[in-house]
Symmetry: C3
Subunit: 342 residues, 3 copies
């Protein structure tokens, strides 16, 4: 993909100072700009880079006045940061939606309906009786079982596994090697010490605008559905147990694990490597610090918790501060004991 | 799959009150039952749902007497919970064993022997000189290296990787994208600060009835075997280092990691996100709390440990309780010091 | 692969006592040796096994004198441990480089250049405009996107995903199901509580001699590159966020997570299940204990830290020791209070 400085200025509604005909191929930070790149200057802390950058063009605010000569072409716009973000998005869209058609060999099961403008990569597998929406992109090596439904504009990256009967909404993105709908971890202990597998017959429902990170696993429900609500964002290597429910617009960072049947509310923010016990209810807007271990319900909305086991964030920070001084506390206690013995 | 209420009652040895001819297609919880579903009532806490459920049929205990009119057909059996569990299992079996034959293209290496009634999905890969037992199901995109043996009735799900020379027992289930037998993490530091790879030439042995969760990784031994003993159950995203041994019927929850050469005994219960150092011996029946960090041997059977670093469960609970009151302890110590100074 | 005892002795520059014509097929520990195996005796603690082993041959030091009759053939060399390690490496090389050519079907995009002596497994996918070096091995089901460069002698195992524009150096090993270059976790909160995806347009650069473990995920940079420097070794199930930089010869154990834009120095040693916050700078030679949570910069080279949140290793060990005695401290404080009240 290649555009001229002028084409980009037109898209952004900006004016050019410098050579409009130069070719732009890539976006870059101003301090890393190379010939063919376009960059931006918003925070004036970075202004010195403007005079040394090798980028071909730089987007700046209309209010900005250079204090030295600039090699790069300048594109003046109302808000350079917003304009650059828009470029990023346009560029991203071009890349994401570039693929279409089917690469052979690809497997398509009987009774499956495909929408319009889908992409199916080589070695992709779609089972029987699925309904795949318009503009869905299914990358190479993706596996989709039987009776799966996928909404419009969803991207299924390479190596993703979506098992039988799962439902994926519109405009979702499932990153490479994520597993959706594998059997939950349910075993009934027997009197001889062995375990009997409890069949897991439910499915997983991802509502619209859900993101699932690479190598994340979401188990199907024993019966019914494990549900990830609209707009929730899951990072990489997360474990979601059977019958869990994640609320709308809740964001979960990498390597967090949520045990079976726990319900996380809407608009929660959960940091990395957090663990949740099973069968909990976590109120809307809960914030959980990294590496916390959550073993109890959170009933009040907007609560911030931390530590393992988790309790109030402020309280935990105070306890952790004293923790570092424990050897000192111990010593002082010893001294006091000696004193009072006398 | 569709059955009549009568067919199901006959299977369960029960009697029907209501319309025997209705069609059943799915199992559901009584509070989520929809037309075409069968459900059950065991715990009388859920009795109110019996009078409102849309399920087509409900299994109840022979001793149960409805207090209001019921829309659904009732199937009376000795123990409704046991009967429903049996239905679950039958349904599960029907689903699991439905697939057979081979979907093309599939890769089969020279010298490999396949048992009877195997299933090989499209894009599955089986290397050279393997022995695959009867009724083994190898799903699409599964990879099996050279010289691998797999016992009867084992299920290898989509995207599983089983590397050269590994041995998998009978009736195992390996969930999507698990990796069995990749090279362990062994590097010898050199005098110039670089590391030299220590070749990892051993394999992994899974005995019979082992379950391995999605995206779990089990490294091969440096020499000899990493061994997962009969009936052990591993959840998702677990890391098992080289030369580890996991005992019979030991259950390990998601995201736990076990470092090289550690031996875990039989019938242990290990919660999620636990870490084990290398070269440890953990006695039979040990119970480890979530997020614990185990750095020492456990020599006494049936010990419960917790915390990071881990020590006795009870002791750790007491320490954790005082931890939350540390700012208060600190304050009291300050006061005492002031008092005794006077 | 089969060699005679004599062939191996010649390779190692050793002398044989016993039958030189016996066939060797495998390497084993002396206590696990079976007919056809070769083993070694270095640490004399293991000497008793020499007199009972079933191994066909054992490598021993030239200075060693058996005190009893030995069944196995003995190969005398200067240093038995070094000699055995060399055998391990030779054996490993034979196995690793055995595969060559292409198994069909395999997908090769337009404009991609392949080096000499490459291996492409069945169902491997290489996108458009890639440059693949000499002797690169790409196993079945591996996915390589568009515009990817891979240096000579690199091994890409089964199920690995390398996304568009990534650069992999020479002599790297990427283990099964690792994901390189997937989109980072970047979302801008909107006023209505939803999140907007921040496009991630950068790539990942792995320099030479880098190892990446199974199911590890390395996100691409928002712009620019996520960089893993020469000789760094990453274990399984690790998460590397966008724009992270890992220094030369740094070793990271399994299940550790590093948040976006953090820079780890050279020659660091990071244990398992560690978490790093984002935007940190970690000095060269830092050592981090297992399950630590690193929330602050480390500015001094060679620092050892531990605990969550992490602080000095020694200090943390002292605090953790007192932590276990907290109930006792509490009790003593109570007693002192009673005493001073009187």
């Amino acid at each position: 993909m290649e555009f001229t400085v002028k084409q980009i200025a037109t898209l952004l509604g900006g004016e050019v100072a410098g050579n409009e005909t130069l070719a732009i191929r890539k976006l870059a930070k101003i301090e890393e700009g190379r010939p063919g790149d376009i960059s931006f200057l918003s925070n004036l802390k970075y202004e010195p880079h403007l005079y040394t950058t090798q980028a071909t063009a730089v987007i700046v605010d209309r209010s900005f006045q250079p204090r030295k000569p600039v090699e790069a072409a300048l594109i003046f716009v109302e808000n350079s940061y917003t304009a650059f973000t828009r470029l990023l998005e346009e560029y991203h869209k071009l890349r994401s939606y570039a693929r279409a058609g089917v690469e052979q060999p690809a497997f398509l099961g009987d009774g499956t309906q495909l929408g319009e403008q889908t992409y199916r990569g080589a070695f992709s597998y779609i089972g029987r009786n699925c309904r795949i929406g318009n503009n869905v992109k299914i990358y190479p090596h993706a596996y989709i079982g039987d009776n799966v439904r996928i909404g419009d504009n969803t991207i299924i990256h390479t190596g993703v596994r979506i098992l039988d009967n799962c439902i994926v909404g519109q405009s979702c993105v499932i990153h490479p090697n994520a597993v959706i709908g594998s059997e939950g971890f349910g075993f009934a202990p027997q009197s001889d010490g062995t375990y009997k597998t409890i069949p897991q017959l439910g499915n997983v429902i991802l509502e619209d605008f859900v993101n699932v990170g690479s190598n994340t696993t979401i188990d199907c429900a024993t019966m019914g559905s494990t549900v990830i609500r609209q707009g929730a964002k899951l990072d990489n290597l997360i474990q979601i147990g059977h019958n869990v429910e994640i609320g709308k617009n809740t964001v979960i960072a990498a390597q967090t694990g949520i045990s079976g049947s726990t319900k996380i509310g809407d608009n929660c923010t959960i940091a990395g490597q957090v663990g949740f016990a099973g069968h909990l209810n976590i109120a809307n807007g809960t914030k959980v610090g990294a590496q916390s271990g959550v073993g109890k319900n959170v009933t009040e909305e907007g609560t911030a918790i931390n530590s393992s086991p988790a309790f109030g964030l402020k309280e935990s920070m105070r306890s952790l501060a004293v923790f570092r001084r424990l050897p000192d506390l111990d010593r002082r206690l010893n001294e006091l004991e000696k004193k009072t013995e006398k």
